[in-house]
Amino acid sequence: MLLLNAKLTGLKKALINYANIIEGMIDRSMRGLLQKDKSLLQEIIDKSEPLTNVLEVEIDESGTNFIAQHEPKAKDLRIALMILKINNDLERIGDHLVNIAESGLYLIERPQVKPLIDIPKMGETVIKMIQESIDAFINEDAKLAHRVCEQDSIVDNLMEQVMRELITYMTSDPKTIERAMHLIRIAHNLERIADLSTNISEDVIFIVEGRVIKHGMGRAR
């Protein structure tokens, strides 16, 4: 029993550490883009993302071993299963950050299509969403987790705004198309990161309340 608690705490800590690394990567991807800092973006591709792959496998193995060895029940089981899912979501966020960094590298070598306003806002929002979803996980705070889910629409709206704006640029000057496509790619990947953060929060709600709210389930209640 003591061992079970100690190991579960160890797994939680590993996941929190993982989330911190991912948050740092989002921040650097945005700074790299805004400050036209090639090295920040290149580092995400060459160092950070490969590290997140290693971490994912480590947490996955530890979590699987934990379940096999300790056969956790009730909330302990929900936490262990959700750690594995959140782990997987974080790794996917890492993949999206590589896409962002790649497009960033393309863009910083070229003249700006438009001032970057909405995309950094999206970046700030997704960092906040991940931070809060992990806080909600640590503190088993369902209310906070619900608030994270609500922020998803902020990011969706920003994404639509970016698209609309860039379409007008592209139609008026076809030379901007390729750069605009890269900006849309960045916005789209940020939007996916927001979705994955929402998943994390939905998992937290499952841990705390033991009910599934995703796909609109449970909202009808």
Binding site: M1, L2, L3, K13, H70
Partner: protein, 262 residues
């Protein structure tokens, strides 16, 4: 960061080394060419279906099978590199080094104090004060001291089953053993007492090597560092617990763990 796991067995020191061990009761071969090295200060669980030879195996480690007339043993058992049958270690020394705790708590029908003093008196070389001190330490290490410190002269049978088992562990600890063998130590206990003993064993392995027989797979998975799976007298598989319970190498281990036989 997740605690890094060691997947190789390079860290196994040969505290207890079993080499080509065969054992017969009369004509019946019970143990078949067992080879294993038991890691120092780890908890090794021996699992396997009833009657496969688990108890017989650990009884070899402190020469308990010597008492059985029809038992015949072949092979080598080394503790700290010393052959336990060689005469370089007499049987009393062996039993001080290798303590044993049985399935049913078996305190002596004496006071709590006398139970712990028992081995110390045989071992000798301690004055009264030192013995008193050792009794307290052993009872503390067995997580029993607070429950019995005011009633050391009560008969051991006045304790609950779980307390009696912890007393047996304290009795084994008193002679500073290097290895403690436990044969299904919790199978006669209620769930709470079982949890307490499990937590205790996890703590004790910081200082002593533990070899525990259990038919309870879940328990072996929970508390052991290594698992030895015995089937029909053969050591089928020996490995790190987390590896063995997630990805066993042998089909028979897989079948046993998934409840297909045994």
């Amino acid at each position: 960061m997740v605690e890094k796991t060691k997947y190789d067995t390079a860290d196994i020191c040969d505290l207890l080394s079993v080499q080509n061990l065969n054992l017969w009761f009369g004509d019946k071969q019970i143990l078949k060419n067992i080879n294993m090295n038991t890691p120092c200060k780890k908890l090794t669980a021996i699992i396997g279906p009833s009657g496969c030879g688990k108890s017989t195996l650990i009884r070899c480690f402190n020469r308990m099978n010597d008492l059985i007339a029809e038992a015949r043993l072949q092979g080598i058992i080394l503790i700290d590199g010393i052959d336990i049958h060689s005469g370089k270690m007499d049987i009393y020394e062996l039993r001080m080094k290798v303590g044993m705790v049985f399935q049913k708590p078996n305190p002596f029908p004496k006071s709590i104090l006398d139970n712990v003093l028992f081995g110390l008196k045989i071992k000798g070389g301690m004055n009264k004060d030192q013995m008193q001190h050792k009794v307290e330490k052993s009872l503390r290490d067995a997580w029993l001291w607070d429950e019995v410190k005011d009633r050391l002269h009560d008969n051991a049978f006045s304790l609950s089953g779980g307390q009696q088992q912890r007393l047996c562990i304290a009795r084994a600890l008193a002679t500073d053993p290097e290895i403690i063998l436990l044969d299904e130590p919790t199978s006669a206990l209620d769930p709470q007492s079982t949890t307490k003993i499990e937590d205790l064993l996890v703590e004790l392995k910081n200082n002593v090597t533990i070899i525990q027989v259990t038919h309870n797979i879940a328990q072996a998975a929970r508390i052991s560092d290594y698992i030895a799976f015995i089937y029909l007298g053969e050591l089928v598989e020996f490995g790190l617990t987390e590896k063995l319970v997630t990805t066993p190498r042998d089909k028979r281990t897989e079948a046993y763990l998934t409840g297909k036989f045994g």
